[in-house]
């Protein structure tokens, strides 16, 4: 199969179609509006559903509706729009409703700007919804990976009946690069054992998130957290680049990790033993994998386009095995590989390893 040039947002949309997404519900917001535009063009032609909802509150609730019937559905938005969906994501985790959410980050806080940023790591991974819950979050660094992770997002969401988010950024959404669309590689589970379809010849089912009876909510909470433990064990993906002999390990996600890889390559050329640890699944966070990788290193440098968000998960995972330093930039400004290399060099000299 030959590669074709695709724009990130459109590739994400096409990947959803290939994954069997039957319903798209969304509300326009830069820098991800092309996803909705693409869906508005393709979905009706395929006999599938496309609705521009009245708000992000509405679009995520429509995803819930479709999800309760076991139908693959998605929405997409950016920063402030994703903020409006938090209540619903908490409800989805509680009621165990599948659905895929694409978040293409812009600069924040507030309306912020439309530049590429990573200030919504906490929003995605910790969430602003109420109660104990976890959204499963994947973070692509290339458009090809965005396609592959969209396939995975639909599969994992249906398998575990939990919302799954693809966390991208403005650059990934807007950029173009050559990609290949493989076939949807997963065999999805049978939904008829749990989905709503009208109680024909069976006991009625309910998929709700209010559980007032004594102890009922606690049982649900324990069950979904057992599920998250299994997900962490079975679904974690990390990308390690030259970490085996690395004295200094860079941690980064998404587009920043891609730029960091360039800095790591340059550092290696200069004789420094530097590696890159990139969590591809951000939630549940790959704690064990990072701890194991960090044990043999002298130092971690976490690089993000924010004031230090994944940094907290990195520190918690490293658990004092080595010091953790941070390089960040917020408000929509980018870090170049040159700037990263400067920081890497300075820290490398500080550890006192001979080059």
């Amino acid at each position: 199969m030959t590669k074709v040039l695709w724009k990130g947002n459109q590739a994400i949309a096409q990947a959803a179609i290939n994954a069997g997404c039957k319903c798209y519900f969304g509300y326009p917001i830069t820098p991800q509006s092309e996803i909705g535009e693409y869906m508005g063009d393709k979905m009706p032609e395929l006999g599938r559903t496309f609705i521009t909802a009245e708000s992000e509150l509405a679009s995520i609730s429509m995803v819930i509706g479709a999800g309760t019937t076991g139908t693959k559905a998605m929405t997409s938005s950016s920063s402030c729009g994703i903020a409006l969906m938090q209540e619903a994501m908490s409800a989805m985790c509680c009621a165990e409703v599948p659905g895929v959410i694409v978040s293409v980050m812009r600069g924040g806080p507030g309306l912020g700007n439309i530049a590429s940023a990573q200030g919504d790591y906490f929003q995605a991974v910790k969430g602003g919804g109420n109660g104990d819950y976890k959204v499963i979050v994947y973070s692509p660094a290339t458009i090809q990976e965005a396609i592959d992770l969209m396939y995975r997002a639909f599969h994992v969401s249906m398998k575990y009946r939990n919302p799954v988010m693809l966390l991208a950024d403005g650059i990934l959404g807007q950029m173009m690069e050559p990609v290949e669309f493989g076939q949807y590689p997963y065999k999805d589970d049978d939904v008829s054992i749990w989905a709503l379809s009208g109680a024909k010849g069976r006991t009625p089912r309910n998929i709700v998130s209010l559980h007032m009876a004594d102890g009922e909510l606690e049982k649900i909470s324990d069950r979904i957290f057992e599920k998250y433990r299994i997900i962490a064990e079975k679904e974690t993906i990390v990308d390690k680049f030259m970490t085996d002999d690395a004295e200094l390990i860079v941690t980064a996600f998404g587009t920043t990790a891609r730029i960091a890889k360039s800095a790591v390559k340059k550092a290696r050329k200069a004789g420094m033993k530097v590696g890159l640890f990139r969590p591809v699944m951000l939630s549940p966070f790959p704690e064990k994998e990072l701890f194991e990788t960090a044990k043999s290193a002298q130092m971690i440098l976490d690089i993000e386009l924010n004031q230090g968000q994944m940094l907290l998960d990195v520190k918690a995972s490293v658990f004092g095995a080595c010091p953790v330093e941070f390089l960040g930039r917020s408000g929509g400004g980018l870090l170049t590989d040159t700037q990263m290399l400067e920081k890497i060099t300075a820290l490398y000299n500080k550890i006192g390893v001979k080059v």
């Binding site: 039957k22 319903c23 519900f25 559903t49 609705i51 909802a53 009245e54 708000s55 509150l57 509405a58 679009s59 609730s61 429509m62 995803v63 819930i64 509706g65 479709a66 999800g67 309760t68 019937t69 139908t71 559905a73 209540e87 619903a88 409800a91 009621a95 709503l196 379809s197 009208g198 109680a199 024909k200 010849g201 009625p204 089912r205 309910n206 998929i207 709700v208 998130s209 209010l210």
Partner: protein, 254 residues
């Protein structure tokens, strides 16, 4: 068994041996029973998905032998939209209060109506937030005493009540919109007729149908059930007038 005729049968859509748990004199039980009777009459129990909302209207799965999906505050029509678009052959209805459908979720109600979503909404309007303890809602009357308007709703401070059915009827995608009451046997019969019509609209795929039901909340109105009837007929109905505000099949035999 000569000489015996069946005059009443408990609807199969209601869970056996399970009574309603609402306050005495509350309107919810009456309307839930009407809906159950109609689902039985149409024979659609096994093809129905109901959407519960937030408020006293929330416990559908505790009373109904139906598949039920829950929605967050005001978002029932969106959940219903997702379900109906996924399974267009199912009968899908939302059961909401005025706090849900007309206050926090009015935007959703209006847009669902404009889209002509082929679902049905039954909205119980008791002019107050019942479950949270009787605060003023969008449909609270001017002068009405609630826990957030203890000296009565003042128009100069909090404006005027929203006319829900009239506003929904203005949406082109709405096929049938009515406001009914259940404060007398005659009204209950009319209410059932309206809800039947609303269900038919969906079953025939004609568009969005919406029935607003004026109902009593004796606990939060601080009235006896009998006083409530008088209050509805002499005060509430003067503002929230009963009638059919939209019927795209008017004059036709459907």
């Amino acid at each position: 068994m000569t000489g015996e005729t069946l005059v009443y049968k408990r609807p199969e859509t209601l869970i056996k041996d399970k009574g309603f748990t609402f306050c005495p004199g509350c309107g919810h039980g009456v309307v839930l029973k009407i809906i159950a009777e109609l689902i039985d009459e149409f024979g659609i129990r096994e093809n129905t998905i109901a959407i519960s909302s937030v408020g006293c209207s929330i416990f559908l799965e505790k009373f109904y032998e139906l598949d039920v999906a829950g929605a967050s505050h005001g978002r029932s029509p969106c959940v219903a939209t997702g379900i109906k678009r996924s399974l267009p052959d199912k009968f899908v209805f939302t059961y909401q209060g005025d706090g849900d459908a007309a206050t926090i979720g009015f935007n959703e109600t209006i847009h669902t109506a404009c889209r002509g979503e082929k679902i049905t909404t039954i909205c119980i309007n008791n002019t107050t937030f019942g479950m949270t303890g009787g605060q003023a809602s969008a449909t609270t009357l001017v002068g009405q005493v609630t826990t957030t308007t203890p000296r009565g709703r003042k128009a100069e401070l909090t404006g005027y009540p929203l006319r829900v059915a009239e506003t929904v009827a203005n949406c082109e995608g709405a096929a049938y919109v009515a406001r009914v009451a259940i404060s007398s046997p005659k009204y209950i019969k009319q209410a059932k007729k309206a809800i039947r019509k609303a269900f038919e609209m969906q079953l025939k795929g004609l568009g969005y149908s919406f029935v607003e039901v004026i109902a009593a909340c004796p606990t939060n109105w601080h009235m006896t059930p009998v006083e409530c009837i008088d209050y509805i007929e002499n005060t509430v109905e003067k503002v929230h007038k009963l009638g059919v505000f939209k019927d795209i099949t008017e004059g036709e035999n459907i």
